[in-house]
Every structure is written in structure tokens, then in C-alpha cells.
Symmetry: C2
Subunit: 152 residues, 2 copies
DNA sequence: TGACTCATGTCAGTAGTCTGACATAGCTTG
DNA sequence: CAAGCTATGTCAGACTACTGACATGAGTCA
């Protein structure tokens, strides 16, 4: 391991550290979701539907940070396996409101317990004030990045 | 857009916000790297090699947060296209030290400018003190997650 | 009404990453 | 020395997510 050689300025780059933290979080979530046969996007989709029943495919995609095409593939699988339902025809426009089935809700319950334990572990070393600092700082970073990405 | 309906507790979840920030950063980086024909992992690999010449495939993989198999595929392409070089035989053990070629260095220079502008944009709304807070907090989160992931 | 713009759902093909597996080199331990 | 453990490089197959493209429905405006 020649990694302890010299902490170059990668370790002081907030972008690099953000990627490292996100990667660690994703790995931890995958580790606890795998025994349940779920991926992170799979779980995100169910969690979004539990908190906001009737979300459309595109809205779910934005909420899970994937394209609507990717979410569409996932939704078709979830629908086929009986975790969610969508009306055959759109009540209005082309938007198909999606809802959890009892089976989906049950599956989500197990996943939520697992994911919550990961989040608690992640927050273990932080004070309340540090947690709210982190929320505020991350929101600012998202806003700055999104402004220039969407608008130009 | 029914998204402004109610900020449920997803918006207060540090894990969710971390994913959102990371997703926004990744999208912004992809947007500026695409015109250069580079992916984020591609750039990460070159940047790591510039800062630490002679890193092995496995070390690059850890530094770019992908598996060594994925990095191996990338390195073979980079080597084929003349961005990096690796000795045909390992000087010691099986480890193949990788180095940038002049072409690789030149390619990295353009990418670095683009990526630095993204990072500056991301930090635009933050004070110096907030930036160092963010570094400290993210490091703590990484440590907490990694301890339980590697060691258990 | 008709043209234009935007968002949505969906199909198809591509690219990046992952898991699984194997052989090999170095280190440790009995 | 032999056995076992760990780390590495590599190949192959599978999966996930992405880009590109198309048709359709809603809203805007002349």
C-alpha cells in the first residue's frame, strides 16, 4: 500500500471528498440491500412512492436521480413482479400515476430498517449542529451546480 | 410538476442530499468532459497518475472508486490510445506501475481546466469556514461508513 | 383553429460498471 | 520447507444506466 505516501491535494478537494462519501454511502447501502434482492434505485423508487403516492415515471426518475428511461425499465419490472401498480390508461395526459401494492409496502418496510441503520451509522460521529451545517452546505452546492447546468 | 407539494423528510435526510449533491456534481463534470471525449472515471485516472506517477491498476481503482476490473478495462483503452504506458512485465510481483505519456499529460491539462471551473462553481456560495466544515464533516461520514463496511 | 413548444411514456442500441472466476506473486506461520 | 492467506492482474458474462429517437398529450399564442 503506497497510499499513505503523501496526502496530495486530492484530499483537500471538496469534489473528490464528496465523491468518496457518496461512494461509501452507496456501497454501504448496496451491502444491506443485496440480501433483500434490491438495488439502491429500486429502494429509492419504493421510498418515494411511500412518501408521495401517485408519482409519475418522470417524477420518480428525478427523485431517484436517474433518467426517465432507466426508471421506466425499473417500473416495468416492479409492476410485473407486483410491487407497484399503474393504470392501463392515463387519467389525464400521458402521465401514469404509480402506487405501491401491499407487497411493495411490505418489501419497503424491510429495506427501510436496513437503510436507516446505514444512515445512523453515517451520522454517528456528528453533532446535531454539524448535521444541520451539512444540510445547509450540501443544499448550497446543489443549487450552485444546478443553476449553471439547467440554465446554461 | 407536483414536486413543490410538500417537502417530506427526504429533504432533511443527509443521505438523500448527499446523493443529490453527488449526482449534480457528476452531471456537471460529465457535461464539461463530454466535449473532450472523456468520462469522469477517465479523468480521475489521469489526475491520479499526474499526482502520483507509477500507481498500479488496483490503486487507481481505489482512488477512482471503481472496481479493479473496471479500471483494468479503462487502462487497456488508455494504453491502446497512447495516454498511459505500462511495462510489459512487472518489476516486482504482479504490480504494473502506470505512467502518463506526454499525450496523456496534454489531455489532462484541458480536462483539469474544465473540472476546476465546475468545482469553483460548486464552492461559489460557501465561505472558507463552511468549506473546511464540509471537509471535516464528509471525512467523518466516510470514516464511519468505511469502518463498518470493511471491518464487518 | 392551427402552429409551436414542452413534457411525458416508451422502444432500441450502446457504454460503463459490476460480479464471478482463475492463475500467480509475496508474505506469514507452523 | 510447505501450507495458507492476501493482493494483484486479467478474462468473461450480466446488469444497470445512458443516449438517441419517436409518437402523443397539454399548454401557449397568433
Amino acid at each position: 500500500m503506497s497510499q499513505e505516501g503523501a496526502g496530495v491535494d486530492l484530499k483537500t478537494s471538496l469534489g473528490y471528498l464528496l465523491k468518496e462519501a457518496s461512494s461509501a454511502l452507496r456501497a454501504a447501502m448496496e451491502a444491506v440491500l443485496r440480501p433483500l434482492g434490491m438495488t439502491v434505485t429500486h429502494y429509492s423508487c419504493l421510498e418515494l412512492l411511500a412518501q408521495r403516492p401517485g408519482l409519475s415515471n418522470s417524477e420518480l426518475a428525478r427523485g431517484a436521480f436517474v433518467t426517465r428511461q432507466s426508471m421506466n425499465v425499473l417500473l416495468q419490472a416492479l409492476e410485473r413482479d407486483g410491487y407497484v401498480t399503474r393504470p392501463a390508461e392515463a387519467p389525464v395526459g400521458k402521465v401514469l400515476p404509480t402506487r405501491l401494492t401491499p407487497r411493495g409496502r411490505h418489501s419497503l418496510e424491510q429495506a427501510t430498517v436496513a437503510v436507516r441503520s446505514v444512515e445512523l451509522r453515517m451520522l454517528a460521529g456528528l453533532t446535531e449542529s454539524e448535521q444541520s451545517d451539512a444540510l445547509r452546505i450540501l443544499r448550497s452546492m446543489v443549487r450552485s451546480l444546478r443553476d449553471a447546468n439547467d440554465g446554461g
